[in-house]
């Protein structure tokens, strides 16, 4: 491929206190302006992969580079955090703040935008994820699971970051809302030129949003290629995974 590499995981190895490593020399690249979807079994380290790029988890070996610069957790000149919008699998909204302040958090506290403007932009973002304006003043505790997910998604996109990480963006959503979210993700990548890395177990969503697909297994990338490659069954195991067939005959 000729595209520019935006994010590169290089030989990344992560283990948690003495257990078998979760990531074991993982190599993966995400290309600028493209949407990469990461699939793989539950507990294979997909979420951990994203967190290493954010500097939330430090690899024991290897490194993650963004624009050719290594991610340096806790440093002021860290290339990661400044340009990444992250949707956590669990949402991770601040339950002490109303939804709009959650969404506008980065604008208010890191970009020092005025409250009025931040609120306007938060309401726009909520509208984009199909949430009513009246949830803006509610607390996360009073929202349903799907609403929380969408509010968290609004928080990830509101500052128009160059890189978007979506950890299971459509889990827990009805098919129609999921479609809204899929289109939103496609729009972010196409219109804003963002680089997206999404994790999903939702194969419909994968077909909507993926340019490229990578499958994680045993702490490494088992296969990566274009979406067409998945559909034409370029790899047996990927093919079975996507169809939801277990390996027993």
């Amino acid at each position: 491929m000729t595209e520019r590499v935006k994010i590169a995981w290089k030989n990344v190895t992560v283990g948690f206190d003495g257990r078998k490593p979760v990531l074991n020399g993982l190599d993966l690249e995400a290309y600028e302006g493209r949407s990469l979807v990461v699939i793989g079994g539950s507990g294979t380290g997909k979420s951990v992969t994203l967190k290493t790029a954010l500097g939330l988890i430090r690899p024991q070996k290897g490194c993650v580079e963004i624009d050719g610069k290594p991610v340096r957790p806790g440093h002021e000149d860290d290339p990661g955090v400044a340009q990444i919008g992250m949707l956590f699998q669990s949402g991770a909204l601040f339950d002490s703040l109303p939804i709009w302040k959650n969404v506008a958090f980065r604008l208010l506290h890191a970009e020092h935008i005025s409250e009025d403007e931040a609120r306007t932009r938060a309401l726009e973002a909520l509208d984009q994820v199909d949430l009513d304006a009246h949830v803006a003043d509610q607390r996360p505790g009073s929202l349903s699971g799907g609403m929380l997910k969408r509010a968290a998604l609004a928080r990830a996109i509101v500052a128009r970051p160059k890189i978007l990480f979506f950890d299971e963006p459509t889990t827990g959503l009805d098919p129609v809302t999921a479609d809204v979210i899929n289109k939103l993700i496609v729009r972010q990548v196409k219109n804003l030129g963002a680089t997206a890395v999404s994790i999903t177990h939702d194969m419909v969503s994968m077909h909507h949003i993926a340019d490229d697909v990578a499958m994680v297994k045993d702490g490494q990338i088992l296969w990566r290629g274009s979406l067409d490659g998945v559909d034409s069954c370029a790899n047996d195991e990927v093919c079975r995974f996507v169809r939801g067939e277990s390996s027993e005959d």
């Binding site: 992250m86 956590f88 991770a92 601040f94 339950d95």
Partner: protein, 255 residues
Amino acid sequence: MNPLRAIGAGLIALLRSAGAVALFAGQTLAALVRPPYFAGQLAQQIFKIGFLSLPVVGLTALFTGAALALNIYTGGSRFNAESFVPNIVAMGIVRELGPVIASLMLAGRVSSGIAAEIGAMRATEQIDALHTLATDPMRYLIAPRVLAGVLVLPVLVATADIIGIYGGFLVSVHTLDFNPTIYVRNTWDFLSDWDIISGLIKAAVFGFILTLMGCYHGFYAQGGAQGVGRAATNAVVAAAVLIFAANFLLTSLFV
């Protein structure tokens, strides 16, 4: 099992956590001196730690002062020294019991609350989310709480001092037949500035300890709801023990 080895392992674990706490305290201080500052968070914590603790602190101080007066009267009467009740009540409250008892009550109320809140934020990835929103949790969460503790405790303890002395006054005047005017004059003339100031310095140190312990245990909480519970318990125990230890150290410096 070799008992020496067990003692050694325990000692190493103790030193290791002392080191971790010292490192965390250093990071907190660094976050306090370098912007950005979160004034809104600070104001909120001053309200939560300070204002909302007034009833608890006031009531304990009142009862402590009253009981202290009764005890000193009983002890004093054995030497025909009952007349020293106002002096010793004032001195005991201002130098020792005001700071220590108020801080212990706050260890129960505030350290555990902070540990549970921050621990729950850790468990639900809210602290990770802060990072990804380009906001340093040390500055946004920890520094305002610790600073609020340092600022608010002297005010709370000053309040406790006044209420505690008043508790002693009430008992002395109503049940021990002291003359109110003389009681107040004896209290006031006897206390030196240093008695009061040394107590308030203690209060600021205890405020640092009890908020820091809440933050530290919450920040490193692990393992879901159970971990949050453990963090809250450990925060209270650590805060209480360190308050007693610091009290002894400061008292021996201040005499």
